[in-house]
């Protein structure tokens, strides 16, 4: 793990509201090869482009949680440009402990929001991006409840993306709030997804906190496989 110890503290001389973002990335063994390579390239592009935007880089604070064998904080909360300067190494191996990752993300998010409150820094609603190509092999139900609830209450922008044909959309539907629900990634279009995410975060951070809900997100056609996303049982 990289040493971010001096950089994770909040910079109180930055008056911009913060937008906490947690990327929850599946790095289990099944992601080895092309999927992990494309994910890393997409992530590098996201870090570079978001850092280069003077609006988003003031607001976006990023944490990366990986789950492959065990759940780990690959990069703790820090301004996105700090993560870009010292990006985490990602290796694929092991099983898919999504429950442990959800628990970790939930507790990290709560701690960061507490810190914002203590320092009197306003914040946008958090963004959680969950990307997985399989199904969890640990207990995820209790860990998922808190963030799902926040998502249902629209206090969290919760995006779940299934990668490939083996992603378990039924479980993702239980983990995620009903809206917008999970979506399948088109092939290995990680770069297109991360471009969309950069643009979305730019738009959010350019809005005021009070107006963030009026931001209309961009077109998802370049990366979302809507036709390929399995339909829930009741809607077939």
């Amino acid at each position: 793990m990289n040493d971010y110890s001096e950089e994770t503290a909040l910079d109180v001389t930055n008056p911009a509201p913060r937008c906490p973002v947690i990327l929850m990335l599946d790095v289990s063994g099944s992601m080895a090869g092309a999927p992990l390579r494309e994910l890393k390239e997409g992530l590098a592009q996201f870090l570079r482009e978001t850092s280069d935007d003077e609006t988003a880089s003031m607001s976006v604070e990023l944490e990366i949680v990986t789950f492959g064998g065990s759940a780990e904080i690959a990069a703790p909360f820090a301004p996105v440009n700090v993560v870009n300067d010292n990006p985490p190494e990602l290796d694929a191996n092991g099983s898919t402990p999504l429950g442990a990752a959800l628990k970790l993300a939930d507790s990290e998010l709560k701690a960061r929001r507490r810190l914002y409150k203590q320092k009197g820094i306003s914040s946008y609603k958090p963004w959680i991006i969950l990307m997985t190509d399989g199904c969890p092999n640990d207990d995820w139900r209790s860990a998922a409840a808190s963030m799902k609830q926040l998502g249902e209450e629209k206090r969290l922008q919760y995006i779940g993306i299934g990668i490939g044909d083996e992603a378990d959309f039924d479980t993702l539907r239980e983990i995620l709030p009903e809206h917008p629900g999970p979506v399948k990634l088109k092939g290995l279009c990680f770069k297109e997804f991360f471009k969309w995410l950069t643009d979305s975060l730019k738009s959010v951070s350019a809005s005021s906190v009070a107006q963030q809900d009026a931001v209309v997100l961009g077109n998802v056609n370049s990366w979302a496989d809507l036709a390929g996303t399995p339909v829930p049982e009741g809607e077939k």
Binding site: N14, E54, H179, D213, L217, V220, N221, T229, E235
Partner: protein
């Protein structure tokens, strides 16, 4: 058809958490999972289009040339000449005769202002572009580049985007911005929206003003009304407009522009700190509406922790200017000082920074409070 449209709007609203449109009440139906994504797959479809310059030469604008979407138009890169951009009306503007006529009248008024057309710091319309039937549907403008003003709105940002810059450098930017706004005001053109994304800064400290469509433009003829826009960003807006939104239907006044520009200048000098930011305060708009400015040092309102050092190195003249603007002028627009005074105070501040040997005088984040000078 109406049902489909309503479903689409509601799905989009659900995704962005906006309140759904209040029309068409039917038996509640759960949107199928994935519907939100489907709605987002239909946002802003682009298309290739051809427009014509005044000589009738075709200019092909591809989907990949789209740079940005504005309120009434789409902005394209101009592949043949990267120094220029082309703005073309959106389809809904082209289909609405009233909107289209307003767009054309306003464009004519802007094209008539020669000094603005020639100003290199303005993304001003330079010439109209036409459809195949010789109807005006857009215009060519100068492309502006640089970092948005937000790059100056935190000490860490200044360091990252403008390495080596100090308070003298950012004060020069503020002075350039004041000069630009004053030049426009001489032509009765008022900047309405002081959103920091509308101002670009280059490494030489030059300022570029974009989104000139949001400016208030005088009518081209004696009998033509002023072209108004309602665009604004609340945290930079004069309080009377926030308290009486009906004033947005009238012409903006020079006093309102002076207030907004002074907020921006203060934030440039103070690395993004809003003039009404205060200990325990939260929303900048609510702070602004309250009128309690910590510079006045009354009502128990204090600067946020750590910022007093930065304020202390401003000149007494600048502090006095800001107090007159933000305290005395908060609810009394006529008490707001003139931009000429702001220019003079910024020039004085620059001279003092140039001549001072104390590094804190020029520091973006001074490490000591300036001691009061003894008077005899």
């Amino acid at each position: 058809m109406t049902d489909l449209l309503q479903q689409f709007i509601n799905r989009l609203n659900a995704m962005t958490n906006r309140r759904p449109a209040p029309a068409i009440q039917r038996k509640p139906q759960a949107a199928p999972a994935g519907a939100d994504w489907l709605a987002l797959a239909q946002v802003s479809p682009e298309r290739t289009r051809t427009v014509y310059d005044p000589a009738g030469s075709p200019l092909v604008l591809r989907k990949s040339d789209v740079l940005a979407h504005g309120g009434e138009g789409v902005i394209y890169r101009f592949a043949k000449n990267p120094a220029f951009l082309i703005k073309v009306c959106k389809d809904d503007t082209l289909r609405d005769p009233r909107k289209l006529a307003a767009f054309r009248d306003r464009l004519n008024a802007m094209l008539a202002l020669e000094e603005c057309r020639n100003a290199p710091f303005l993304a001003w319309p330079l010439m109209p572009v036409f459809d195949g039937k010789k109807n005006v549907i857009g215009f060519v403008m100068r492309k502006s580049s640089g970092r948005t003003l937000r790059a100056l709105y935190a000490p860490c940002q200044v360091k990252r985007f403008f390495p080596g810059w100090d308070r003298l450098s950012v004060t020069r930017v503020a002075l350039n911005l004041v000069d630009a706004v004053r030049m426009l005001a001489r032509h009765r053109v008022l900047v309405n929206d002081f959103n920091p994304d509308n101002f670009l800064i280059d490494p030489a400290g030059r300022v570029r003003l974009i989104d000139c469509d949001s400016f208030q433009i005088p009518g081209a003829g004696e009998n033509q009304n002023t072209f108004l826009t309602r665009t604004f960003t609340p945290e930079y807006t004069a309080p009377e407009l926030l308290f009486q939104p009906e004033l947005f239907n009238r012409e903006r006044t020079p006093e309102q522009v002076r207030f907004s520009l002074s907020v921006v200048v203060y934030m440039i000098l103070m690395s993004g700190l809003h003039p009404y930011a205060q200990c325990g305060g939260t929303d900048p708009v609510e702070n602004l509406k309250s009128g309690k400015c910590p510079l006045a040092r009354r009502d128990g309102v204090r600067l946020p922790v750590g910022w007093f050092k930065s304020v202390s190195w401003l000149t007494p003249g600048l502090k006095h200017y800001f107090i007159r603007m933000f305290v005395d002028g908060h609810r009394a627009p006529l008490k707001r000082p003139l931009l000429g005074e702001l220019k003079t105070e910024l020039e004085n501040f620059i001279n003092i920074m140039r001549s001072s040997k104390n590094p804190n005088q020029r520091a973006i984040l001074p490490d000591k409070v300036k001691r009061k000078e003894k008077t005899t």
